[in-house]
Amino acid sequence: MNRRNFVKALTLSASIAAIGLPVGAHAAETIKVGILHSLSGTMAISETALKNVALMTIEEINAAGGVMGKKLEPVVVDPASNWPLFAEKARQLVAQDKVAAVFGCWTSVSRKSVNPVFKELNGLLFYPVQYEGEELEKNVFYTGAAPNQQAIPAVEYLMSAEGGGAKRFVLLGTDYVYPRTTNKILRAFLKSKGVAEADIMEDYTPFGHADYQTIIAKIKKFAAEGKKTAVISTINGDSNVPFYKELGNAGLKATDVPVVAFSVGEEELRGVDTKPLVGHLAAWNYFMTLKNPENDAFAKKYKDWAKKNGVPNADTVVTNDPMEATYVGLYMWKQAVEKAKSTDTDKVIAAIGGQTFKAPSGFTLTMDKTNHHLHKPVYIGEVRGDGQFDVVWKTKEPIRAQPWSPFIAGNEGKQKL
């Protein structure tokens, strides 16, 4: 570049900047949307992909004309897997950045930490991950599964002839609120199905537990003691890799003792050598391998987006259930805003009930009129050698969520807000 061109370019860019500035100052022409996912710390493994898919969806909505003619403007913050920081960042998004809605959180503890903020400031949170239920906030919409949309159908499948007719169950989890609550619900459910107390084994390991020898030996012993046994795993995060490795090496095959997991999806299996896992199960409301036009488009869009935006290992990116839930959540919110003709929290809440969206899960999902949860289909998949899932069972139609499980005493009559 010679000097004259350089000067020209400089003048040009300066004038563009000068034009650009006042446009930026007219910020009223955009609608701000907050994205509250950990991009560092232990949860970055799972949550980074949700931030990516939210940005992709926002780009897509903007390309199609935005919401009520206004472009969406994402505000990304990093709560760094630090639960109190989630509350601080949420406050910043709602009070300072004045976002119309926030899409975020993964762990239940982070959601519990931001709930009071959204309540106090009357903000709007879309939470995209399956969770333990026992909660219904006016300001939160849950686009992931409640226990009756994931855990209970999975156990019913294990008990059926197709699932192997399991009669004894090992409830294995990481020691924190989600596994403990889920197992409490499952225990009550199993009892209601006539499973005896002696046929249920419940065990917990600390976060990050890496030595599963003793537990696997216990499971083997338990399985040998009697009728057909299945393991229900709510092990979360990093511990899954050593657990499945030990399982494979100890010779516990999926055909003998199947393990169904509620927190293991495509993204988690990227860091795992899946050969020893083949045949083990996962229950979700969406799998990347589902065959329908919406899902094909969704998976392709994400792959292209990842390549274009230089996501590390973009060739092997996958889509998973919480990503689909994020995608659906954004569209549900968009439709509600358009119906309410306003981004006002109360008006959007009033408008969102009954919204429908043709989702990549292959069904038209509906936001329930009263309970802030989506009606979702349930799929059970078996792990394949390439880290994807083969769907072996599915519900005929989407199921309505029961955030307050009927299997926990005292929950009767709590289904509505």
């Binding site: 493994i45 890496a210 003793t214 216990k218 083997k220 990093d238 090496n249 590390p312 290992n313």
Partner: protein
């Protein structure tokens, strides 16, 4: 034994009949595969029947259908059971080509339950194999899934089998079925025979004989009951021994992993007095080096990919040692004798290393496959398996320990290191280049940490933050063992491993972790110098 609905019994009977009456032809009878068009249970029955029948005659035909099922090529179209070969569709039984589009075929779902039935059917077919190993494996598979429909298979195989071990497995499998027989002599023989088993599941079968329904024994014959009781005692003894060995082994394995994680620290902290908070990240460097070597093998030497772990040993050692040297030269050397500052500085370094790994390899965990020779395990008795990867790691820990011991005791460098540990100024006075010895000792300690990372990569996660999980354990071992003592580290690691595993079996993982920490706190209170204290004139420094 659960009751079968009348319809199913009828179906099974018909199936068996078709099998027994019409074999010895190249093609299968249409009736033998028709069950695939039915409901789930009839599919399972059909698979089993194919296995039972095939063992007698036409095994290859049955195998062909089972292969197609396993490959997902078997399907149903218009009520007929067919196999899809690319663009053409053929009848499953006869192999004759049919005029059906592949898209119109509804494939038969293969899930775990079907795979289990498939494994049983294949094993039944393999019982007539010429290869002894194949027959033995088949007999073992069948013994795990035994049932009365398989009885003809057992009897047929027992009639022709000459190998004692296989006869034993088959006999016990058949005996399980005979326990429900109407003939008391047969039950007695079965109950006696099952005493040779070491499978806890068999124990339950026998225990069922000893149960009482009101005033009646579920087993009328006192003789059979006595035989069952004796057999249960024999099984209990065998299972208890196997379990004790299993627990001891898992303790040993955990100990060896703790040792590998802590040995490097025992040198850098114990010998040099540097509190190296980045020790965990040196483990991580070793594991990442292993990952890189795996990648190189996969891309350039796919035939030798099983040996990447061996090739990774020097690479992991050298890369971690290099990082260690850089740390020592650039940072730690200026902080000797200032433990608090070096603690903070190394903690900072650990954050830098974690982020560097995250930036260059991405935040995801990396996938490291166990080589085939490190997969699976030795089965001691039913329920207790000693996995190969853990056995190899125990051996590797011994190897590394031996190497360090030789280095410390038999080489000039080792002597220098010991001299500097005991009395730095005096060693300097007699001409030991203390600064260089420090660097080298730190490099060796870091390199050993790299080897620890290599071992960890075979059983645990490999990710940027993997090291943080081990740093506390490593310090626990070093402090418990006694600072400056390699032998102390060995005993502490083994002790913590075995005690931890016994506690875990008894109280669960969460409580066990707490108890171990409480134990260490009390121990350090009573004996702050650790298991082994430095002795000699300068021990107090």
């Amino acid at each position: 034994m659960h009751r079968l609905p009348a319809l199913q019994i009828l179906l099974r009977g018909v199936l068996l009949l078709t099998l027994l009456v019409g074999p010895a032809r190249a093609a299968l009878d249409e009736g033998m595969v028709a069950g695939f068009a039915g409901d789930f249970q009839s599919r399972l029955d059909t698979i089993e029947a194919l296995g039972v029948a095939g063992g007698a005659e036409g095994g290859n035909e049955a195998r062909r259908v089972l292969d197609a099922l396993e490959a997902g090529a078997l399907g149903v179209a218009g009520g007929r059971v067919v196999i899809v070969h690319g663009d053409t569709v053929a009848a499953a039984a006869t192999g004759e080509a049919l005029d059906i589009a592949p898209a119109a075929v509804e494939p038969v779902t293969v899930n775990n339950r079907v795979r289990r039935a498939l494994a049983t059917a294949r094993a039944a077919l393999a019982l007539s194999s010429a290869d002894r190993g194949e027959r033995l494996a088949a007999a073992r598979t069948l013994a795990d899934n035994t049932g009365e429909t398989l009885l003809p298979v057992f009897e047929r195989a027992l009639a022709s089998e000459a190998d004692d071990e296989i006869r034993g497995v088959l006999g016990r499998a058949a005996a399980r079925v005979y326990l429900a027989s109407g003939d008391a002599a047969r039950r007695l023989k079965a109950a006696e025979m099952l005493g040779e088993s070491s499978d806890p599941a068999v124990k339950n079968l026998l225990a069922a004989l000893l149960a009482k329904n009101g005033n009646d024994w579920s087993e009328p014959s006192a003789e059979v009951r006595a035989a069952a009781e004796a057999s249960i005692r024999a099984i209990d003894r065998r299972v208890a021994t196997a379990e004790a060995v299993g627990t001891l082994f898992s303790g040993l394995s955990l100990g060896s992993i703790l040792l590998l994680a802590a040995l490097g620290l025992a040198i850098t902290y114990g010998v040099m007095g540097v509190i190296n908070m980045a020790h965990g990240e040196l483990l991580m460097v070793g594991a990442y080096a292993t990952f890189v070597v795996q990648g190189v093998f996969r891309n350039h030497f796919p035939a030798y990919v099983d040996w990447y772990v061996v090739a990774a040993i020097p690479v992991a050692f050298l890369s971690a040692a290099l990082v260690g040297v850089a740390m020592e030269r650039l940072v730690l050397r200026h902080l000797y004798g200032r433990p608090l500052e070096s603690l903070l500085a190394t903690w900072g370094l650990s954050l830098v290393l974690i982020q560097a790994a995250r930036v260059s390899f991405g935040p995801q965990n990396l996938e490291l496959a166990n080589p085939t020779w490190m997969s699976g395990g030795i089965e001691m008795a039913a329920g207790v398996v000693l996995p190969w990867n853990r056995i190899v790691i125990v051996g590797f820990a011994v190897f590394v320990l031996l190497l360090i011991w030789l280095m410390m005791q038999k080489t000039r460098l080792g002597m220098f290191v010991r001299a500097v540990t005991q009395n730095r100024p005096m060693a300097g006075c007699v001409g030991v280049p203390t600064a260089r010895v420090d660097t080298l000792a730190f490099a060796i300690g870091s390199g050993v940490a790299g080897l620890g990372g290599l071992a960890l990569s075979q059983i645990a996660n490999v990710g940027p933050a993997m090291g943080t999980g081990y740093i506390v354990d490593a310090f626990m071992v070093v402090v418990l063992g006694g600072v400056g003592q390699l032998a102390g580290a060995v005993w502490a690691a083994l002790g913590l491993g075995i005690v931890g595993k016994f506690l875990e079996g008894w109280a669960g993982a969460v409580i066990a972790k707490i108890l171990v920490l409480v134990f260490i706190i009390i121990f350090i209170q009573k004996r702050p110098q650790g298991i082994f204290a430095l002795k000699g004139r300068f021990a107090d420094n």
